[in-house]
């Protein structure tokens, strides 16, 4: 120690040098141990990634940077399900080498650059809107209807999407061009009973170990009896002492992984969306104070971690509460706040009150956590329907909502125009007039202008 001090005393500038080298390392280590790397994030991330931006390993491989594989680890399944129109596999042909030299369409990072907010133009996209013309140079020659269109119109006009055209392709528009605005019998699929049974069934709820006052116990039992869990005889131990025989400790706070033991599909959707993606990367659960979207004062004050019971509540597991009230408890944006005065909300209230048939109402969950037929059938033959818990799954582009959500009730032209209309979106479709034409693809097709020019 004395020798060290005399070493510094011999040349005081050595102390400055060592401090400049050691202090940042100490700070980095401190933040790393504390799990907070936010101070080291070099530029804000897009809305899709900001929740996990401090978990560098989500995208970055040591000594290799952010690779395409890290994008595919999260997004490959979704892209495949969307029948990706520009899958990277379409660009592997050596004949496309000169096009790839201009824009490497095999690499997600070509168009989606993170940590560079100044480069992002539209959501997570960081290439100019006219990038389509790099490859589709002759579109105006081939299609007379497209002459005069702005070169950047492809990406922003709502007629085309780079990845997902399931609601936008010509033959679909042609097929549904004459659909009425409202279907004759507008209904969304009904949820089907869950078939899974827990491994520890018991007929009646037992008074478990752990301190419970009589009022709390009575409330919990009453809520449980009225719930789907109660009707299916999913006992207390199935959640609070999961996978165990009698004798295991009672766990008051049930982990979401326990829910997943029966509700695997719902949990998988949850962690794929913005509600649960932090948990999927090993970060603590999402909380309202971490959100970029507008949140209610109550949510910001209480700031609870987000999990299954955040929306469903414990014991009651009220799916109707989860469909609207839970959303309004946190979200304070214009769209959410306008819901209660919308026609959709009126239909929902009618269904809940029993004045309208099941499936005719429209809650927040109807659109944002849609009911998707799984394709499978139960033993009695009825089609199985699951609620998609990835609330981000059909948000962008907005046309993604058209097939899964809107078409059971609305015609495709009406749907695409409404989804593309910012006024309709902001007011939660409360504008009483017919949506103004925003999506011109169907008009072009009806006028017969879609056909290509014959080869010369």
């Amino acid at each position: 120690m004395l020798r060290l001090l005399s070493w510094f005393r011999a040349a005081p500038e050595r102390l400055v040098f060592v401090a400049c080298a050691v202090v940042p390392l100490l700070l980095f280590g401190a933040f790393h141990v504390a799990g907070n790397r936010t101070p080291f994030v070099p530029g804000s991330t897009s809305s899709g990634h900001h929740q996990i931006e401090s978990q560098c390993a989500s995208c970055h491989t040591p000594f290799a940077g952010a690779t395409v594989q890290s994008c595919l680890d999260c997004h490959a399944e979704s892209l495949k399900a969307r029948n990706d129109s520009h899958a990277s596999s379409k660009f592997d042909d050596p004949g496309k080498a000169d096009q790839l030299a201009l824009i490497d369409a095999r690499d997600c990072r070509t168009c989606h650059r993170e940590h560079r907010p100044e480069a992002r133009e539209r959501g997570s996209v960081s290439v100019p809107a006219g990038f389509c013309m790099t490859c589709h140079t002759q579109i105006a020659e081939e299609r007379p209807s497209h002459r005069g269109f702005a070169p950047d119109g492809c990406a922003v006009a709502g007629c085309h999407n780079y990845h997902d055209n399931r609601a936008l392709y010509e033959d679909l528009l042609r097929k549904h061009a004459s659909d009425p605005d409202m279907a004759a019998n507008p209904r969304v699929p009904l949820r089907t009973p869950h078939g899974a049974k827990p491994t520890v069934p018991r007929a009646t709820p037992d008074r478990e170990r752990g301190e419970r006052d009589e009022a709390t116990w009575a409330t919990a039992v009453a809520e449980w009896r009225a719930s789907a869990h109660g009707r299916a005889q999913v006992s207390c131990a199935a959640c609070h002492a999961p996978g165990s025989a009698a004798g295991d400790a009672f766990v008051a706070q049930v982990a979401d992984s326990v829910c997943a033991s029966c509700h695997e599909g719902e949990r998988a959707g949850f962690v794929a969306g913005k509600h649960g993606m932090r948990g999927a990367t090993g970060l603590p659960p999402m909380r309202p104070t971490l959100a970029r979207a507008a949140m209610t004062t109550q949510a910001l004050t209480s700031d609870p971690p987000l999990g299954c019971t955040s929306c469903h509540g414990a014991h009651a597991f009220d799916v109707r509460r989860a469909a609207v009230d839970a959303c309004e408890g946190c979200h304070a944006d214009e769209h959410t706040q306008a819901y209660r005065t919308s026609a959709h909300a009126a239909a929902w209230r009618a269904e809940v009150a029993g004045r309208a048939p099941p499936g005719s109402g429209v809650s927040c969950a109807t659109c944002h956590l849609p009911r998707i037929p799984t394709g499978a059938r139960a033993a009695d033959g009825h089609a199985l329907v699951q609620v998609q818990h990835n609330q981000n799954g059909n948000l962008r582009p907005t046309s993604r909502m058209a097939r899964e959500v809107c078409q059971p009730c609305h015609g495709l032209r009406f749907t695409l125009n409404a989804l593309a209309d910012p006024a309709q979106n902001g007011s939660n479709f409360a504008v009483s007039s017919r949506p103004a034409p925003h999506q011109i693809g169907m008009d072009l097709i009806q006028r017969g202008e879609g056909r290509r020019e014959p080869a010369k």
């Binding site: 042909d93 004949g95 081939e142 879609g450 290509r452 080869a455």
Partner: protein
């Protein structure tokens, strides 16, 4: 003197020999390297043209089997399911050309040693038009002489390839009808057995 003359004579021969060796060695090395390269780029002892022909033979057989024994049978004979451009959305069978392209993408994901694609001068999807000079020349050649494959070499993205083009004919009436009636088809007068495009097989050299 004679010994000195002998040593000088020996030195000249040695110098000449060295010069000859220096001249011959690079040529010999080049020939040897070319031989190695040729043998290493020829799996199973086949040359690049043979590889391209073999790949094409398999592709053609598979597509013909799919067209005749799957699509034609189920759609036109048994009438139980159709093939459709939007097969995934409509839960139908892929069209034969789509089956071909799906296989091409899968093959490209597994190896870079060869690749194949289906191109046409009259494509429904403009991105399937010939793009490189070799593709354009090859398609033109197989239209003029359908029974004769077209071979050439080209360099793409810094890599060298043998590129082979084979005529792709309308083997069933379904091909003709679909292309003639499709709203995006630039040609509407195809007949059975017409050359509609070409299969392009590339082998990395």
């Amino acid at each position: 003197m004679n010994q000195q003359n002998e040593r000088k004579g020996t030195g000249r021969w040695t110098t000449t020999g060295m010069r000859a060796l220096l001249m011959i060695a690079p040529a010999a090395a080049a020939l040897w390297a070319a031989g190695c390269q040729k043998s290493s780029a020829s799996p199973g002892g086949l040359g690049p043209r043979d590889v391209a022909d073999a790949v094409y033979t398999v592709l053609a057989a598979d597509r013909e089997t799919y067209t005749a024994d799957v699509v034609n049978r189920l759609q036109n004979q048994d009438k139980v399911i159709k093939a459709s451009e939007h097969w995934k959305d409509e839960k139908l069978l892929p069209l034969p050309a789509q089956m071909f392209r799906l296989g091409a993408e899968r093959a490209r994901s597994k190896t870079k040693r060869f690749s194949y694609s289906l191109l046409s001068q009259w494509p429904i999807n403009r991105q399937n038009a010939p793009h490189t000079d070799a593709e354009k020349a090859g398609l033109k050649a197989v239209i003029e002489q359908p029974e004769q494959p077209y071979y050439t070499e080209e360099t793409l993205g810094g890599s060298k390839y043998l590129t082979a083009v084979y005529a792709d004919k309308a083997v069933s009436q379904a091909c003709v009808e679909c292309h003639n009636n499709h709203s995006d088809s630039p040609r509407c007068d195809f007949k059975l057995k017409d050359v509609m495009g070409g299969v392009v097989v590339r082998v990395a050299l």
